[in-house]
Each structure stands twice: as C-alpha cells, then as structure tokens.
C-alpha cells in the first residue's frame, strides 16, 4: 500500500514542474503592465520605472524565473500586490473558506442527487424519474451567479429569512478559534453553538447554489450506473434467491454502481472549485477563487501563480484519494495490484 502511495506521489512530480513553468510563462504573456497599474493614476514614466525596478520586473525573464524557483524552494510564493500580503499566508487564510464551501455544496448535492438517482433508476419511467430529469436539467442550465443572485433576492431581500450575503460570518460575530480553518468544524470543536449556527446560516445559500449546479452530473451518473447494474445477472439471482428488496438494491446493486459515481465526484469537485469563483463574488466569500480573479484583473503575477500551483496540488491529492478509494469500494482492484 505504502509503496503504491509513494509511486503515485513520484509520478506527480513532472506534472508539478510543468505547472510551475506554464503558470509562470502564462502570467508573463498576459497583457497588462503590473508596474503601470500599481504606480497609480498619477504616475510619471519615471515613477513607473521605479516601481518596475522595485518589483524586479525590469530583469530578463530567465532571471525572473530563476528567482521565482529559488523562492519557491524556500516555500516563498512571493508577495501579492492587490492585498499587500505574502501569497502563502493569503492562500492559507483563504483556502479553507473555499474548501469548506465546496465540500458543503458537494455533500449537500450528494445527499440529494444519490437517492434521487437511485430512486429514478429503480422506478424507471415513474413520476420521480421525470422529476429527477427536470430538476437536473434546470440545475445544470442555470449559471451559478444567476442562481446565487436569485437566492439572495428571494431569501434575503424578499423573504428576509437568510442573513446578509456578507461572507463567512455576520459582521458582528467573531470567528471561532482556528483549528482546521473550517468554521463549522472549529465552532463545533469549541462547543460554540451560536457561532456554528451563524456560520451555517451564512454557508447555506452559497452552498445550495453550488449544490444545485452539481446535482445534474451526480444524479445522472448514479441513475445510469444503477440501471446497468440492475439489469445484470447477479441482481436477478439475488432477487430470485428471495433477498429483501433493500438488500438487493443497496448492498448488491449500489455498491457495484458506486465506482463511476466516485469518479464523477472527483470531476464534480474540480469544476465546483471553478464555479466557486462566481459564487464567492456574489456572496462576498473570502475564498481563493475571488482572490485569484482580483489578482488576474490587476495582472498581479504572484497570487495567480500561487493559485494555479495550489489548485494543481489539490487536484493531485484529490485524484490520489479517489484512486485509493477505488480499492476500498472494489476488492478486485486490491487483488489486481
């Protein structure tokens, strides 16, 4: 097991090197002049040159790349000009916010989509199957920023049951002591019910926005995969042996249908991180997506490179976890290695 793990990690190294080089080059190719932007509206050409020199942007590209790699090997991702902070501490502060939101949205959509997919497959052609199709089509056709604004309009502005879309916590509430960076977990660990409720209610609307978007692929894959498994011989045998309906569907069929669902889950998680950017904008969520977009608008290189790198590492870890989970779900995978 350990050997496989190490082997897998080693294969990710070329991918990481590629990400470092490409993200560096891409940010330099972007139009826009960082120095002119940050020298401000009143800058003279001399002032812009001064800023350029201070930022080290006057040096040739290979030299800039060498110093970038040197810094990187010391764990230094550079300075963000838009927030004025080291990129590493920005990412550390913001990644948990994005991760909490994405995971919450994913779990929420799993809770709805998987049962929905199973029921739709078991009762193919029934009302629930049609409802499932309608819901997922609607979910995937609505862009997230639109769903987000709509939810804010209905639940905050009109019905007034949702808190103000002001990020992770109400302005007057204070954040729980940081352990994991996930407010829900941290407030539970601190046994602080009020903060838990406050952060949960802030998380609900953006989480639902993401969940609606993620419903479609999960529900559709669950349904398709269940349908194919249900028509297999072993299911018929199980039924014929007089096993209970529940046992046939959940223990025999669903477990076998799970592999494609888990694979899809990995993909859904990645594109939820992408969709996050817009949701974070709408809900003033202090996450990593809105951070990267703001940096991109200002052609602020360091945060963009840091963001791409962090995302690459995240995807690699995610894929690793999914591969490992295959072994747990399917004993044949264990045997084959």
């Amino acid at each position: 097991m350990l050997k496989i793990l190490i082997g897998r990690i080693l294969t990710t190294i070329p991918a990481l090197i590629g990400v470092v080089v490409v993200s560096f080059l891409l940010t330099r190719v972007l139009p826009g002049d960082t120095a002119a932007y940050f020298a401000g509206p009143a800058a003279t050409p001399q002032a812009i040159e001064e800023v350029r020199k201070k930022l080290g942007l006057d040096r040739p590209l290979p030299e800039q790349f060498a110093s970038y790699v040197r810094d990187l090997s010391h764990g230094n991702l550079g300075q963000s000009l838009t927030t004025g902070q080291p990129v590493l501490s920005d990412i550390k502060a913001r990644l948990p916010a994005s991760a909490e939101l994405t995971l919450f949205g994913l779990v929420l959509s799993l809770l709805i989509a998987v049962p929905l997919g199973i029921v739709a497959a078991v009762r193919q052609g029934s009302m629930i199957d049609h409802a499932c199709r309608a819901i997922v089509t609607a979910g995937v056709s609505l862009p997230v920023f639109f769903t987000g604004l709509l939810l804010v309009y209905v639940f905050y502005f009109i019905l007034q049951i949702s808190p103000a879309p002001l990020g992770r916590l109400d302005v007057f509430a204070s954040a729980p002591a940081e352990i994991t960076g996930f407010y829900l977990l941290d407030s539970l660990l601190a046994r602080d019910g009020a903060t838990f409720r406050a952060s949960f209610s802030q998380l609900l609307l953006p989480g639902v926005t993401l969940a609606i978007f993620a419903l479609a692929p999960i529900a559709r894959i669950t349904r398709a995969s269940m349908l194919s498994v249900l028509s297999m011989d072993f299911v018929r045998t199980a039924r014929a042996s007089g096993l209970s309906r529940r046992k046939v569907i959940m223990t025999y069929a669903f477990r076998n249908a799970l592999l494609p669902v888990v694979t899809t889950l990995g993909m859904v998680f990645s594109f939820l991180l992408g969709a996050n950017v817009l949701v974070e904008k709408v809900f003033a969520w202090p996450g990593i997506g809105s951070y990267a977009v703001e940096a991109l608008i200002a052609s602020d290189f360091a945060p963009v490179q840091g963001f791409v790198l962090a995302m690459a590492i995240l995807y690699i870890v995610l894929n690793l976890l999914i591969d490992l989970s295959y072994r747990l779900i399917d004993p044949r995978m264990r045997a084959s290695s």
């Binding site: 139009p31 009143a42 050409p45 502060a93 804010v152 809105s290």
Partner: protein, 541 residues
C-alpha cells in the same frame, strides 16, 4: 429505499435547514448595542496598504490614511452647491499644528503640545520632519504629489524646537500650503517605525503597510485584506472634535447588486460605489439618503491624438466636438448623475474657473462643413478606446459616440482596453481617440492645465498637445497666482480656457459625480477633494 422513506429523509433535511435559517433572527441585546455604535460601510474593493507612502497603495488605502493619520493643517467646511458640507479650498484649519505663520520664504508651524500617537508617544517636530522627509524621498506617487506643491527636498523641512517646524520654500508657489493639507504629508510615529525598519527598508514601509502608526482619530485594529477593515476610535485624539462613532467596519462586497440589497434592507450603513442606475433608483427610496457631488477639478473627456492625422487638424477636432451626443450621454449613459460641460450660450463669457461648459452643441451640418474644409468630406476610419475597468460608464458613452460620429462619416471601431493595461496604453500616447477622466486633488485651473495641456507633455497630456501660446498662459497664471495678482491671473485663466476650447485637443464630456448612499440615520457626510469618506464627521443616530 422506497418512496416513503425518501420523502422522510428529504423532510428531515428540510427541517435542519429551517432551523439554520432562522438563527440570525435572534439578536442579543449586546449585539444590538454594538450595532448602534458601529458604522458598516460596504464597497467593492478595499485597501492593499494602510500607508499612502507605500509602493502602489491603491485609492481605498488613501481613505485609511486620511482617517488614521493627522496632518499639520486641514480644510474648513462650507456648504456645497447641493447643500451638503463641502471642503473649503480657501480656508485652512490647524490639525496637528495650533498655529501657522506664513512668511515670504517659509512657513512656520507651532505644534499642539498635547497630541500623542496611538501608542501614547508625544507628537514632536522631529516626527513631522521625518514624515515629510519620507514623503519626498520614497519615490512614486507620494513624492510626485509633494512636488506638485514645490516640496522636493528634505532640507526644506527644519526642526526649530520640539514643537516648532519651519518649511522653507524652494520658489514662490501658491500650491505649497494647499499641498500640505492633502493626504500625503501625514505625520507618522517616527520612533515606532524606525524600530521596525530594516537596512533594505529604511523608511519602514513594510511595517506601516500592515499597521497604522499615526496620531489620527481612528486606528486600524483588524485588517483582513480583500475582506474587511475594522477601525476603533482613538479616545485620546486631540486634533479636533471627538468623532461620534466608536467603531467602523468596512466590508468588501464585490457584487453591486448585493451592496444595493444590503442598503435597502438596512443592514449596511453606507456605500458609495454603485452603478449610476442604482443610485437613481435608490433616490426614490424613502429609507435612504443619496448625496451626489461633482468631482472637484475633474472631467471626463474625449481625447484626440493631435500628433497624428487626421486629428492634427483643429478643424477635424472641432467637427468631432460638433457631432458628439452630449445630452444623450447625460441621459442614457449617466442617468443624469453628472454635471454637463456643454451647452453654454453663444453670448456667455469665459469665467476664470475650471471646469466650465463649452459652446459646442450638436450641429451635424456644421460638423460636415468643417470636415469638408479639412479635405475629409467623405469621413475617415479610426479606433475609439476606453478603459474596461470603468466599463459601466465608458461602454455606453463610447457606443453613443460611435453612433453619432458615423452620421458625419467617421467610422469608429471600439477598442476595449483591460484595466490593468489602460495606463500602459495611455503612456504610449498612440491611441487616436479615447475617453478618460482626469481629476486633481488641488482644485486650481492652472494645476489642471499644467498637467493636461502643457507642452512639457506629462502623462496626463494624453493628447500630446503642445502649443507655446498655451504654455505661456499657464506659466503666467502660475506666476500671477504666486504673486497674488488677481487681475492678471483671471486674464490668463480665461485665456487658456478659451484657447483649449478653440483648439479642442480634448472635448470635455461631463463632470462626474461622487454618489454616496446612506441610511437616513447617518448624517455628517462631507465632500473632500480626495472623494473618500471622512469618518470623523459621520454621526449615527
């Protein structure tokens, strides 16, 4: 899982979310208390640096500096055209200084003896000198701004004794005193910052980027970049009337729609960067007050590159000026929230002030005749560029201009330049036709013209306009202002305004408004030359 069980689980999930949603309705009395004592500001973006002397400090950062640091002097208030408080360009009031004595070659300030920095250290003349030395030495924007008032060398700032500072003039300049009342010459706790300075960073810019080290009415107690800034009142503030609001929370809310929703629901107290359309609609909301004030010394204009044909011909430029849809721009792009700079009557005389309306009105026949005189009866093709960072206003303005110019045969292609690229493009001075805004902190016509029309061809002379006659008029306005010769000054100002409107290298479109929306219980908003909020005057009832 059968249908009944499925529905049951779904019901349970719904119940969980219902309890979560109702939670914020329970507001404790302590929370209500702190709400009453806290001002919640929402805006699109926040500071990237708490110190205006920093490298690349953005405009929201200026607001922090203004409220957390004191200057030697500041401005009195008067009532503006719209009835709201407006800074008085002519009247100065002491802030850290208790007395100002202007001589022929220098100005002497006596400092308050009771003023202290946030850490309790007394404010001394050495701090003042160190801070002014820093402003003229760090380079970039602060040094540039100091230069605008002939404040250029550390030798100009002299410590006379612990509480007396003298500033020597390099040359007579009417802008020296006003330039000491802008945001840049703020007084910094020199001992504290020196303790945190390093060999590579002798002015301690890294420390002041993250911490406020001033004597001002507020101090930053928490700053989460890109998310929020929290200010607490400095209870020991001596340089003015104690501010009414103990705590300010400034939250960044990127979505304009949500900023508006927060205001309308009464959750946010103030917001000032909403689209014009929202401000117009909010004006009819009885729960909010909206204050609109024209930018002082600010103009959005259509610039033409006079170094390149066909705009090197004044007749072409005048033809364009006769073909712009000024009123349509006011109505459709700005929703009326701007001051018109067109439509002066033919008989109107030029005033010694700036900005003022020109006499060009839409007259397509005249525009065509002028083009024909320039030998371009069939028109020509060109590109019209704008800054995407301000697309909300720029895009409709450019589309309207494009439509209108097409009627006299000028075909334009619209070129949208990303915000990060705009300054680079402007600095190249190659765009033939573009719209842009210039506004100066120092509200003097000769200041505007020196930067925008003078033959030294500064960054702001985006048209590359050079005319010796113009330079002579600007120079004479500056020298007669320094000498206090009002008659000669007025004559020069009227002269350069007339020349600018005859030669028309740039066509003023309108004077933009600063719009601020706030709850009815918030009062005391003041318009300042820097157009940011002054928390010290705000009151929450």
């Amino acid at each position: 899982m059968d249908r009944r069980k499925f529905i049951k689980t779904a019901g349970a999930a719904a119940a969980v979310s219902a309890t979560g949603v109702s939670a914020p309705a329970i507001v404790t009395s302590a929370m209500a208390q702190s709400r009453a004592e806290t001002l919640l500001i929402v805006s699109e973006s926040g500071p990237n640096n708490l110190d205006i002397h920093g490298v690349g400090t953005n405009v929201p950062g200026y607001e922090v500096s203004w409220n957390c640091y004191d200057r030697l002097i500041s401005h009195e208030m008067k009532t503006g055209e719209n009835g709201a408080p407006y800074y008085d360009r002519e009247k100065f009031k002491p802030e850290l200084a208790e007395d100002m004595n202007v001589g022929a070659n220098s100005v002497t300030f006596k400092l308050r003896k009771d003023a202290t920095f946030h850490d309790g250290a007394p404010v001394t003349a050495r701090d003042v000198k160190w801070s002014l030395d820093r402003a003229v030495s760090v380079g970039g924007f602060p040094t540039f701004q100091m230069k605008a008032g002939s404040l250029e060398k550390p030798e100009q700032f002299v410590v006379v004794d612990d509480h007396t500072v003298r500033i020597d003039f390099l040359r007579p300049d009417k802008l020296t005193i006003p330039d000491l009342a802008v945001i840049v010459p703020c007084v910094i706790n020199s001992e504290l910052v020196k303790k945190n300075a390093t060999a590579q960073d002798p002015w301690g810019l890294e420390y002041t980027k993250q911490n406020t080290a001033g004597s001002g009415a507020y101090k930053v107690t928490k700053w989460t970049p890109g998310t929020e800034v929290v200010f607490e009142r400095n209870e020991a503030w001596k340089c003015g009337k104690m501010p009414a609001i103990p705590r300010i929370i400034w939250r960044m809310v990127p979505s304009a729609g949500n900023r508006r929703a927060l205001l309308e629901r009464g959750d946010a107290d103030i917001s000032y960067d909403l689209p014009n359309k929202d401000f117009v609609e909010l004006k009819s909301n009885p729960k909010l007050s909206i204050i609109s004030t024209p930018y002082s010394n600010g103009v959005q204009y259509l610039g033409m590159n006079v170094k390149k044909p066909p705009f090197d011909n004044p007749k072409v430029r005048q033809a364009v000026a006769y073909a712009l849809p000024y009123q349509k721009i006011m109505d459709a792009a700005l929703y009326g929230l701007s001051k018109p700079l067109f439509g002066a009557s033919a008989a109107a005389t030029t005033q010694p002030s700036w900005p003022q309306a020109h006499k060009y009105n839409v007259d397509l026949a005249k525009a065509r005749a002028l083009l024909a005189e320039a030998g371009l009866a069939d028109g020509f093709e060109t590109t019209l560029s704008f800054d995407l960072g301000f697309a909300g206003v720029n895009e409709p303005v450019c589309v309207l201009i494009q439509e209108s110019l097409a009627q006299i045969g000028i075909k334009t292609t619209i070129n949208k330049v990303p915000g990060a690229n705009w300054r680079t493009e402007l600095n190249k001075k190659e765009m033939p036709l573009f719209t842009n805004v210039f506004s100066g902190w120092l509200d003097y016509p000769e200041y505007f013209f020196f930067w925008c029309y003078d033959g030294q061809n500064s960054v702001f002379n985006t048209m590359s306009y050079q005319n010796p006659e113009m330079d002579k008029l600007i120079a004479s306005a500056r020298s007669s202002a320094a000498a206090g010769n009002k008659a000669a000054y007025d004559k020069s100002v009227e002269g350069f305004v007339d020349l600018a409107y005859t030669d028309m290298p740039r066509i003023p479109l309108f004077q933009p408004y600063v719009n601020v929306a706030m709850q009815k219980n918030i009062t005391g908003y003041q318009y300042w030359f820097h157009r940011r909020l002054d928390y010290r005057a705000l009151v929450k009832a």
